[in-house]
Amino acid sequence: MDELIIKNGFVYDPLNNINGEQLDIFIKNGKIVSEVGADATVIDAKNKIIMPGGIDGHSHIAGAKVSMGRLLRPEDIRRGVRAKTKITRSESGVSVPTTFSIGYRYARMGYTTVFEPAMPPLKARHTHEELADTPIVDKGAFPLLGSNWMVFHYLKQQEIEKCAAFVAWMLNATKGFAIKLVNPAGLESWNWGGNIRDIDTPVEFWDVTPREVITGLAKVNELLGLPHSIHVHFNNIGRPGNFKTTIESFDACRENKNPGVERNQVIHGTHIQFNGYGGDSWKSFASGGLEIADWVNKNDHVTLDVGQVVFSNTTTMTADGPLEYYLHTLNHLKWTNGDVEIETSSGVVPLIYKRKNPVSAIQWTIGLELLLGIEDPWKVMLSTDHPNGGPFTRYPEIIAWLMSQEYRNDTLKSAHKRAGKRSGLATLDREYSLFEIAIVTRATQAKALGINYMKGHLGVGADADVAIYDLDKESKDPKEIMKAFSNTLYTIKGGEVVAKNGEIVSTPMGRTLYLNVKVDPSLENTMLKEFSDIFRRNYSVNMANYPVQPIPSYLPLPKEIKLDATHVA
């Protein structure tokens, strides 16, 4: 593999506390090294900005519901068409693009690692097949375990070790990376046509509350010492007044952190914009973003991603089936519901966020309030919850809103007047620096996901994932910022130049990150016995449908992260 030197650029590497210093970066064998040979290829990055490759901690890019979205929205696939080149396949789709388009578009923006946050365990193979078809970026997926019967069973029996053994087995079988909870216990309720709107209502039959599921799985997570914390999509999402549920859920989860992990949080709240609503009806709908930001400023055991809304024609898709049905009753657009052996649900509905729509405009302010109101950028990740708040290709616009108060205010003025009245966005005069942008687009993700030893920084030994942007480091011009962050000058993935001036120049296969958690074998056997017994009685398929075999069509380039949790017995 070629050796590379990136010379004279201004480096923004928050994990190593490098803030715009002029440094040379050396790359060899796909890693950052301290020196290379004399005949290394030189990339002159004078007056350019260098950051580690971007990491998206929450983006729906593969799996059952993404495919369902593509089927539901052929009209979306008509948009965003780009002809094939000698190297790339043709691209199409905006909110539900093809797998290949996803890989290319992330690479063009300087992102090199993406996590699919909602993998139904029984659809793990499907998810990995799609991820295998997503070129360039490294990726991982989080299995959905928040409404799983085995989890309920063990939590109810208070057998936390067995629950941990079950979770470990599930992560190993599905080649998952972290524990995902969607509307904990609420999805079980959806199987009966209901929903759970607050964290203390028990689910029918099981008599388990969302609070018990969140704290129980957080305990399991820390017991196993997983790199990421639990990744939670809270109850009561998408309803006015739900910011209280968010704070309650965050507050409920104060488990002790496993001392073996570097991250600070024990719970990650995802797309909090959708869970940051004030008011008590759609008429009195208001932002609850600053209330959440205030709370987060006072508490250190949480991280969150924002799920920022951008004005666009997009597709909402989530494992939260009842939410999608509710959305359909609001906007009357087409709706589809998915079910996977009632382990988890899903739904898809198109949605258009319009500037002049009061609800869309207020939603738009909430994500920005979170990003600007939370003082410590190490607690917050930039995301649109692609494609729920808008396609990920609109991240540059969000970066421009964060870096320029003027641009933010211009957008606020062009939006419905209620956005200004019912949010505190106009009072926030903070402007992000490039260093802070690097934190919320890369470093927070790397740290919170527990992959900061290999990703999200440019220190020696890190993966050589680098983004070089053509931007004056003092620039506050939103147009320049958007242009620079839309297309990198160079994107380097694993030591290879993959994009240059917005064109894909090579399409290597990305790696799949997944955990291999080892628990005590006798505990695992006991758990498996009970699991297979319950499974056989309640499921219509065979248990052998879970495991993702380590074969190239599922895992073309596996990157196994081994964890020893044999102390769990």
């Binding site: 539901l72 929205r73 052929p74 009209e75 979306d76 008509r78 009357h332 657009l333 087409k334």
Partner: protein, 304 residues
Amino acid sequence: MTTKNLINYENSHNHINSSKIKNANEAIKMKELSLKPLSQPNVMLEAEIITPDNFSGKSVDEIKQLKVWKGNKEVPLSDFFQVEGETTNSPEETRIVIEGSIPKTKRVGEGMTSGEIVIKGNAGMHTGALMRGGSIFVEGDVGAWSGAEIRGGKLHIKGNADNYLGAVYRGEWRGMRGGKIIVEGNAGGEVGEWMRDGVIHVKRDVGSFVGVHMHGGKIIVHGNADERVGAEMTGGQIIILGKANEILPSFRFDEEIPSIEVEGETYEGPFLKFVGDLAEAGKIKGEILVLKKNNSHLIKLFLF
């Protein structure tokens, strides 16, 4: 809705585009560019490049070199058309005349915003789809999806139109949003699917599902209509001057109307007015108006 209201409704939906273009054409001298079909390809030709917008500001030689897709290969336009005539810098002054039938050339005039296209023969699929302005005149027949999702301008077809005239592409729920389509012959199924605004005239018969999912605008069928007129419509008007094969049971008979006026033209009745489709959710304002004298079979079903 009373007759008076109907007229008001009509006035408020006057089609600015077509009147504007008419006036503009009178004022400016059009420059004519002729495209003589040499042969039609064995596979479909994707020729969305043929619009006044794309041709204006280019020389004849440049136009000859414009690329069209023939199957999976790009070929110059001159492989299939002999290009002659004058060009201009403004699309409004450009008239493109295609001197013959081009049944295997798709998407002529797609997305055009102004100017004029005349096709002296039959045209292929998607003719004038996604138009925003200008006009297209076809002397022969057109293929399916002609005038799909148009937003403005005028598409006039002397012959017959295939299925999905002025319809919507798969998945989209916002169909024709303005402009005018006139077909002097017959049209196929699903005319004006998901239509929101504008006017479609079909001078002879239409197939089944005319105005399916319609939300607004007007469809006037001067001949007969096949089954399931206006299924799942929630707004707009379908006027049938011939015989409507059936009116769905999810429509309700509203009233008898003596005459109606559309775009300044009065159609003498009496008409039977049906409102529906009541199987849909929300406010239902869709109207089907059928000429009473040709539809005595409906009187029996709905009135007694």
